[in-house]
């Protein structure tokens, strides 16, 4: 681990951050919700994500500033994002929605509007003034170095200082993502909510029909 440098992401890391977001969305499957919901190819999704990240909007899952990266010999090995929900007065969902609205073509919205009532069954709201853990990814050649655990610890330490009152961390994952679930449970997170859709159509658009919310309260 000593050979890795942990630092804040910059705009130069955008290609890796795009990869991180995409792989996290897929949750180990081939289903990329940005593609299925908006009717885009993966290449188109990558291009739009690059543009959205380049806007450097803060405090959302599409913020460069929300990410820490682990780097070895100048090569980015892993990335993880987290933010304080609602910091700055805007919900992260609205910030993300604004970016999507601004960059995606009109036909994407029309398609998404028809699908929204299917996928919202597994939607879980973000809790204001809490730490939300977002997308994380480790490049294959750098796995088994516990990089996500290190990034997680550094992110939480840096964010926790800016929260007044009880410091709570949340993470949302699809239940089929067993490795992530085990990692979070080992780290002291508890599952506090499960959202499941019985509409099989959801599996055309999302990696799973079941999502869980995990919570940890910092001492």
């Amino acid at each position: 681990m000593n050979e890795f440098v942990i630092r804040k992401a910059t705009t130069k890391d955008i290609p890796f951050l795009v990869h991180t977001i995409i792989e996290a969305e897929k949750s180990g499957t081939e289903i990329l919700s940005y593609s299925t919901v908006f009717g885009l190819t993966e290449l188109e999704v990558k291009n739009y994500l690059k543009q959205m990240l380049a806007e450097e909007v803060e405090n959302s899952e599409l913020s460069v500033s929300s990410f820490l990266v682990a780097e070895k010999d100048g090569v980015v090995a892993a990335a993880l994002s987290a933010w304080i929900e609602g910091f700055g007065g805007m919900s992260s969902s609205m910030l993300k929605g604004n970016l999507l609205k601004y960059f995606l073509p009109k036909q994407c919205f029309e398609r998404a509007a028809k699908i929204n009532n299917v996928i919202r069954d597994v939607h879980i709201e973000y809790i204001p003034n809490s730490i939300q853990i977002g997308a994380g990814y480790v490049a294959k050649e750098f796995r088994r170095n516990r990089l996500l655990g290190v990034l997680n610890k550094e992110l939480i330490e840096s964010l926790a200082n800016t929260i007044n009152g009880e410091k709570v961390i949340y993470a949302q994952i699809f239940t089929l993502n067993l490795p992530s679930m085990k990692t979070y449970e080992k780290a002291g997170f508890d599952i506090i909510l499960t959202k499941k859709s019985n509409n099989e159509e959801i599996l055309k658009y999302l990696p799973s029909n079941e999502k869980i919310l995990l919570k940890k309260v910092l001492e």
Binding site: M90, M94, K101, N116, I119
Partner: protein
């Protein structure tokens, strides 16, 4: 357009996109107060507002809309500018 008419039209949009006829828009209302107001719904709400009022928002304007009151002011100002 009268402020009341703008509020009525915005209310219709929110109710339609969020599929909730009980939604009442108040100045201090935020996304945290409304179930289902996620990034996708928000995108659809903004798209509908632009379509219905024939206006266009800039990204930096959208990122300052932290409550309905600010949305109402922005929509009203853009209608006047037309």
């Amino acid at each position: 357009m009268e402020k009341s008419e703008v509020i009525n039209k915005l209310t219709e949009i929110f109710r339609k996109v969020l599929e909730d006829d009980s939604i009442l828009l108040k100045d201090e209302l935020t996304a945290n107060d409304v179930d289902g107001w996620d990034s996708l719904s928000h995108m659809l709400i903004i798209t509908e507002i632009e379509r219905l009022f024939q206006i266009r928002f800039k990204l930096k304007e959208l990122n300052k809309l932290n409550n309905i009151g600010n949305l109402l002011l922005l929509v009203s100002s853009k209608i006047v500018q037309k």
